[in-house]
Amino acid sequence: MRKQLVGFCAVGALLAATGIASAETVKVGVISTFSGGFARWGEQMKRGIEIYQKHHGDSVKGNKIEIVYRDDTGPVPDKARQLAEELILREKVQFIAGFPWSPNALAVADVVTEAKVPTIIWNAATGVITRRSPYFVRTSFTLPQVAYPMGVWAGKNGVKTAITAITEFAPGVDAETFFIKAFKENGGQVLESIRMPLSTTDFSPFFERILNAKPDALFMFGPGGPSSQGIIATWASRLRPAGIKLLATNEIQEIDLVGVGKNGIGAISTGHYTETNDNELNKRMWADMKAMYGEKAIADIAMVATYDGMEMIYRVVEKLGPRAKPEDIMQMMSNMSFPSPRGRLVIDPKERDVVNDVDIRKVDESGGRVTNVAFDKVPSVKDPWKEANPAK
C-alpha cells in the first residue's frame, strides 16, 4: 500500500514537472515595418520566420515559440521605443527582434537595457548599435563592414576618382566615412560627398551634379526599398551611358533590381549575402520560399538575417530552456557560430556583433535572372567601426 502510494506520488510529481516544462510559451516580439513604402522589410522578415518555422517547427522541446508582430511604420524611432515598452510590459516577451532601421534600434537601447530583454538586430547596420546596450546582438551586417572593402576594391581596381552620395542618417554617414577612408588609403580621390535627406524620392538634381563632375565612379548608400531602387534606376538611365560606374553595398540586391532589369547589369557591390550562393541551406531556403510564396518571391538580406536570428533563439531555448536568465542568454548568443544561407553566421563575443565574409559581386544575368554574381571574397571581416573606435 505504502509502495503504491509512493509510486503514485512519484508518477504524479513527474507528470506535474513535465507538464510545467512543456506548457511554456516563449514570446518573441518582432518590431518591423509592415505598412507604408518600406513594408517590404516587414514582409521579408515575416517570411524568414515562416520559412524557418517550416524547417524547424514552431516549438522547441515542447516549448512553443510565439511571434508577436508590431508595426513601426518606418524609420520612426519614437514609435519603435513605444512598441518595445509595450512588448516588454504588456506582452511580457522574452526576446525582441526585428529593426530594419538604425534609428529605431538606437532608440530602444535604453528600454531593453533597463528591462534586460535580449534583443536581436535583424538588419539595422550602423556600427555603434551593439555598443549601446549589452542586450543587443546582431545577425545582419554593419555598413563599415561592407563599405570599407568596397573602398579597398575600388582603389585597387582602376577607380581613380569617385563621388559619394548617401542618405543622411546614421548608417549612411557610416557608409560614407568608411568608403572614403578605404578609398583614400588605396590611392583614390573623392571629388564630392553628397548627403540627401532620407525622404528624398527624386534624385535627378543630385545626378545632374554628378554628371557634370564626371568621376570614374559613384558610391551610393540608400535604405533598401524604393529609394535605393530610385538611385539604381537613375544611375542606369543617366550615369551608366556616361561611363560612370556604380559602387554600392547591400542596396544592390536582386529584389531591388526587379524594376531596373538588364539596365542594372554592371553595378558592383559588396555584401555579406549573395543570392546566388552555392550552399545547401541557401538553396533549400530559396526552394521553400518559392513553394510558399510563389515564383516571384526573392530572398534578401532581411530574410537571411531573420532566418539566422530565429536559429539563435531556437538554440537558446533548446539549451537553456524557456526561462533562462538574460545574462546567460546573452553569453550564449554572443558566442554563436552556425551554418547560414550566407555561408556561416559567426558572432564576435567581445562586441556581440556579426563577423561576415564579404562578397564582391557584379550584377549580371544568371539562370534567367538579373542578379548578383560574386567574383571575389574578403573573408572574416569584423566591424571596422569598432576597430576605429575601441571600447573605453
Binding site: 509592415f34 505598412s35 516587414g42 508582430y69 508590431r70 508595426d71 524609420p75 520612426v76 524611432p77 519614437d78 514609435k79 521605443r81 513605444q82 515598452e85 509595450e86 516588454i88 510590459l89 504588456r90 538604425s102 534609428p103 538606437l106 532608440a107 535604453d110 528600454v111 533597463e114 528591462a115 542618405t167 543622411e168 542618417f169 546614421a170 548627403r195 535627406p197 532620407l198 525622404s199
Partner: protein, 334 residues
C-alpha cells in the same frame, strides 16, 4: 462646422444643474482609476494625456478663435526639441526644462503669429503648413544639432522635483503629465469664461463687426495663437521628457492632422471634446494595431468616416445626435 449652433463650451462650464461639479470631476477621477487599473499600459495613457493637451491647444486656436491651422506640429516639435536639447546641453531637471520649452514655443508662436495672422482662410492654412514645413526641413538638415532622421538620442531626465525618477513602468511619467494637463486645463477654462475668451467667440463669428465695436482683433488673435503655441510646446516637451527621445515625426504634418482628427472626433469648442477625442483615438489605434499589425490603418480610417458622416458635432454630441434620430424616426413613417 458652421452649420452647427455656436457653442462656446460655456454651457458645460457653468453647469450647476443636477450633477454640476460632479461632471467636472469625472475625467480626473477616471484618470486616477486608469492609474491604478492600467498596469503596463501607462505609457500608452501618458501618450493619450499628451495628445489631449495638444488637441486642447488646437481647440483654443481653431475651435474658439477660428484660426484655421495645420501647423500645430511646428509648436509640438519645437517644444519637444527645445526640451530635449535643454536636457542634454543645459540641465536635466524636468520642470525647468518644461517651463523653458513652453516659453520658447510661446515666443515662436508669437513671432510666427505676427507674421501670418493678418491672413485668413486657405492662405492662413498654407502659411501655417509652411511654417511647420520649414521647421521640419531645418531639423532634417541640422543633423549635427537634431540628429536628423536618427532623432535626438541620449536624452537623460533627472527626477521630477528631485524626488520621482522616471521609471520603466511609466508611473512618474503619467502622474507628471496628468498634473501638467490639469494646470493647462484650468488656464484654458479661465480663458474661455473670461471676456477675452468671449471676444474670441465674436471674432470667429464675425471679425468685421468685432472690429467695428473696437476690439483689437489682430492682437487678440496673436495672443491666443501664442497661448496655443505655448500649450502645444508643453505637450511636445512632455513627449520628449517622458519618452526621453525626440524624432523628426514630432514635426510632421501627420501630428497636426492627428490632432485635428482627434478634435473633430471629440467635438470642437467643447472643453472635454479634446479629452474624449484624443482618448478614443489612442485606444482605437492601439487596439487595431494589436488585432492586426499589418492592416491596422484601415480601422482608423473607418472610425473617422463613421464619425464625420454620422456625428457632426463629434462624440460629445453622441447623446444629442441619437436623440435627434430617435425623434425623427416616427416622422419618417407614412
Amino acid at each position: 462646422m458652421t452649420t452647427l449652433p455656436t457653442r462656446s463650451g460655456l454651457a458645460e462650464l457653468s453647469a450647476q444643474g443636477r450633477l454640476g461639479l460632479a461632471w467636472h470631476a469625472l475625467p480626473w477621477v477616471l484618470a486616477f482609476v486608469v492609474f491604478y487599473m492600467a498596469e503596463g499600459y501607462l505609457s500608452l495613457w501618458t501618450n493619450a494625456l499628451i495628445m489631449i493637451l495638444l488637441t486642447l491647444s488646437l481647440d483654443l486656436a481653431l475651435g474658439y478663435a477660428g484660426i484655421v491651422t495645420l501647423g500645430q506640429a511646428a509648436f509640438f516639435g519645437f517644444g519637444a526639441y527645445a526640451a530635449g536639447l535643454f536636457a542634454i546641453h543645459v540641465h536635466n531637471d524636468p520642470l525647468i526644462g518644461l517651463v523653458t520649452a513652453t516659453a520658447l514655443s510661446g515666443l515662436f508662436g508669437f513671432v510666427t503669429g505676427i507674421l501670418i495672422l493678418h491672413t485668413q482662410g486657405v492662405t492662413l492654412l498654407m502659411l501655417t503648413l509652411a511654417v511647420a514645413g520649414l521647421l521640419a526641413e531645418w531639423a532634417n538638415r541640422a543633423y549635427e544639432i537634431t540628429g536628423g532622421d536618427d532623432g535626438l538620442q541620449g536624452v537623460r531626465m533627472g527626477p521630477v522635483l528631485g524626488l520621482f525618477r522616471f521609471d520603466l513602468y511609466g508611473k512618474t511619467a503619467y502622474l507628471y503629465s496628468l498634473a501638467v494637463l490639469f494646470v493647462w486645463f484650468v488656464v484654458v477654462w479661465r480663458i474661455i469664461v473670461s471676456p477675452f475668451g468671449r471676444s474670441l467667440d465674436g471674432i470667429r463669428q464675425n471679425p468685421a463687426r468685432m472690429r467695428a465695436i473696437g476690439t483689437p482683433v489682430w492682437w487678440r488673435l496673436v495672443a491666443i495663437y501664442t497661448i496655443s503655441a505655448a500649450m502645444a510646446g508643453t505637450a511636445g516637451a512632455l513627449s520628449a521628457q517622458t519618452t526621453r527621445f525626440v524624432g523628426l515625426t514630432t514635426l510632421s504634418v501627420l501630428v497636426s492632422g492627428t490632432a485635428l482628427v482627434m478634435l473633430m472626433l471629440g467635438g470642437t469648442r467643447r472643453i472635454y471634446g479634446a479629452f474624449l477625442g484624443a482618448t478614443v483615438y489612442v485606444i482605437v489605434q492601439d487596439y487595431a494595431a494589436k488585432v492586426n499589425p499589418f492592416y491596422w490603418m484601415f480601422f482608423i480610417g473607418a472610425l473617422l468616416m463613421a464619425t464625420v458622416l454620422f456625428l457632426e458635432g463629434g462624440l460629445m454630441d453622441l447623446g444629442a445626435t441619437v436623440r435627434k434620430y430617435w425623434r425623427r424616426a416616427p416622422v419618417k413613417k407614412p
